[in-house]
């Protein structure tokens, strides 16, 4: 069984994001980029599934500029077998991404696609669900546990009230939540090995997919800042403020 793991290159989770003053976006020049944390969890889960003997090959894929090869190499160094880059300068939205991934799924025939539940840049939380829809596959979103069982995959999902477990017919889509696993650290020899693993480059035209979006970003702005509050001396003063000033208790 093959597993396809689509990943995304984003501003590193530890970098504080600054909005450009002209409202065109956020500062990305000379900013540290990294694999989206939820995508790292997806790669890790695929590797664990392969290590448990349920998969034979892991393909990592991303869609973006040629710089995105760095996160593909990270995925290969973690343990993926080969990589695909769909190279484009355009900033694509989830529906276009899902359409490109569908074309790749049709060529590569994986039985399982594992993705992060959301990217920490645009916070959309859409691509996995959209890809499931286009393929007509089952979806196990926000997974905190994935278990293989007789041609099905059982996914425990993090939902608002607690946990829910569903059984999905394969082929299926899984999207990862935070606590599915802890991604491994990449060891230096594996970085060297990753350089020798295959990395294919395609462009959207090769796949015959229209990636135009009907959703236009008009502006990106900084949210209104909360006014700084005051420091209080003791619990008594806090009680007084909550009761008489804020009137919330």
């Amino acid at each position: 069984m093959k597993i396809l793991v689509p990943i995304k290159r984003v501003i590193d989770a530890n970098v504080r994001v600054h909005v450009k003053s002209d409202g065109s976006g956020v500062e990305t020049a000379n900013i540290k980029m990294a694999m989206n944390p939820f995508c790292e969890i997806a790669v890790e889960e695929a590797i664990r599934i392969k290590e448990a003997g349920h998969a034979s090959e892991i393909i990592v894929i991303t869609i973006g500029t040629s710089q995105c090869q760095d996160i593909l190499r990270s995925g290969l160094a973690m343990g993926a077998d080969r990589a695909i880059l769909i190279e484009t300068e355009a900033e694509l939205q989830p529906l276009a991404i899902a359409k490109l991934l569908k074309a790749i799924v049709e060529r590569q025939s994986p039985q399982l696609v594992i993705l992060g539940k959301q990217a920490i840049d645009d916070d959309n939380n859409q691509t996995g669900q959209m890809l499931s829809a286009l393929l007509g596959w089952a979806q196990g979103t926000f997974a905190s546990k994935v278990v293989f069982n007789d041609g099905n995959v059982e996914v425990t999902r993090e939902i608002d009230g607690g946990l829910e477990t569903v059984s999905l017919q394969l082929p299926a889509i899984v999207t990862t939540d935070l606590r599915l696993n802890e991604p491994r650290y990449i060891k230096l020899p594996n970085i060297m090995k990753a350089k020798k693993k295959p990395l294919d480059i395609l462009c959207p035209d090769d796949l015959g997919i229209d990636v135009n979006s009907r959703l236009k970003v008009l502006s990106i702005e900084q949210p209104a800042k909360r006014a700084a509050g005051i420091k209080l001396a003791d619990v008594q003063e806090l009680m007084d403020k909550l009761k008489n000033e804020a009137k919330v208790i």
């Binding site: 529906l95 959209m130 499931s132 979806q139 979103t141 420091k231 919330v248």
Partner: protein, 312 residues
């Protein structure tokens, strides 16, 4: 044209998240249809006709809708989009699971986590964990939107007089099966709808200490939340997490106990009306957004606060 809202319910009652979504729907148009899909959910559909601002309740009843699986609901939703300009659901795990699937089937974009409606085609949504706000304009024939519930008031559960219609059900997809759930049972209010939340962080140091928040929470009638650090450390279950990737809350009063204030936590609670922070580190970033800060050891604070609440 009408606005279609997908009701989130637990087979017994409509969830408050639906009421907030209806308020957003009413900003987009007067003809608001509410889809109640479930198994044996006639009673919910009937009670939904009384919700203020709903014109028509669409009731779809079938065994395969019992657990609101996206694979089953998405074809149902796409079968009733004639004359619909907008499809809305709450940006809860229910709505986030379902609506992108619906959007892709309709070949349109999905717009996640909308916090403001500028016009019928222009919406504001947070990106980068709320560190930036994007204004987006859609030229799709149908706008598919999840609504951040804290950004819109709840519609009144009475005062309405909607008509009720049965909807032809879709054929079962049969590719996924509900096996079971473990829901966190609590006598306390639900996090996303609570008026007061008391939240704990890594400062509490262990699960036993975390329980000390319960006494204070009960005196306040508050829900209990947690930072990601506290959840990662195993003090409380995952569904306590407030933050970018957990729950987004906006109560009247949010009390942060031993929480430093990581960006991803602030993204989940910074729209609370009044924020109180208790932390022994006076440099903790949480103080930058707190209305009232108290630099104090939380283990000294909790008993004092508890006694003060008794004397209220």
């Amino acid at each position: 044209m009408s606005i279609l809202v997908i009701a989130e319910h637990d087979q017994q009652t409509i969830k408050p998240s639906t009421l907030h979504t209806l308020t957003a729907a009413n900003l987009l148009g007067d003809d608001v249809k509410l889809l109640v899909a479930g198994s044996d959910c006639q009673a919910i559909a009937t009670s939904a006709t009384k919700i203020s601002g709903v014109t028509t309740v669409l009731h779809a009843d079938a065994d395969h809708y019992a657990h609101q699986l996206a694979e089953e609901l998405a074809p149902l939703v796409t079968s009733i989009t004639d004359g619909v300009s907008h499809i809305l659901a709450p940006a809860t795990t229910f709505g986030k699971n379902l609506l992108p699937r619906v959007a892709a089937l309709l070949d349109v974009a999905a717009i996640s986590d909308v916090i403001k409606i500028e016009s019928s085609d222009t919406f504001v949504r947070p990106i980068y964990a709320g560190n930036a706000l994007a204004t987006v304009q859609s030229s799709d024939p149908v706008k598919v939107i999840t609504v951040r519930t804290t950004a819109f008031e709840a519609a009144a559960i009475d005062g309405g007089s909607a008509t009720q219609e049965s909807v032809t059900t879709s054929a079962p997809a049969g590719i996924s099966t509900f096996l079971g759930h473990e829901l966190t049972l609590s006598e306390r209010p639900e996090l996303t709808t609570a008026r007061i939340i008391i939240s704990g962080g890594r400062g509490l140091a262990n699960a036993d200490n975390f329980k000390r928040l319960e006494e204070v929470a009960d005196k306040l009638g508050a829900a209990i939340g947690a930072s990601r650090a506290a959840v990662d450390a195993g003090y409380v279950p995952n569904d306590y997490q407030v933050g970018q990737t957990g729950k987004i809350v906006a109560p009247d009063l949010y009390i942060a106990i031993g929480i430093s204030g990581a960006i991803q936590h602030l993204a989940g609670m910074k729209d609370s009306k009044v924020i109180v922070a208790i932390n022994k580190d006076e440099e903790a970033p949480i103080f930058e957004i707190a209305d009232y800060g108290l630099v104090m050891d939380l283990f000294d604070f909790l008993p004092e606060f508890s006694t003060a609440l008794d004397n209220l």
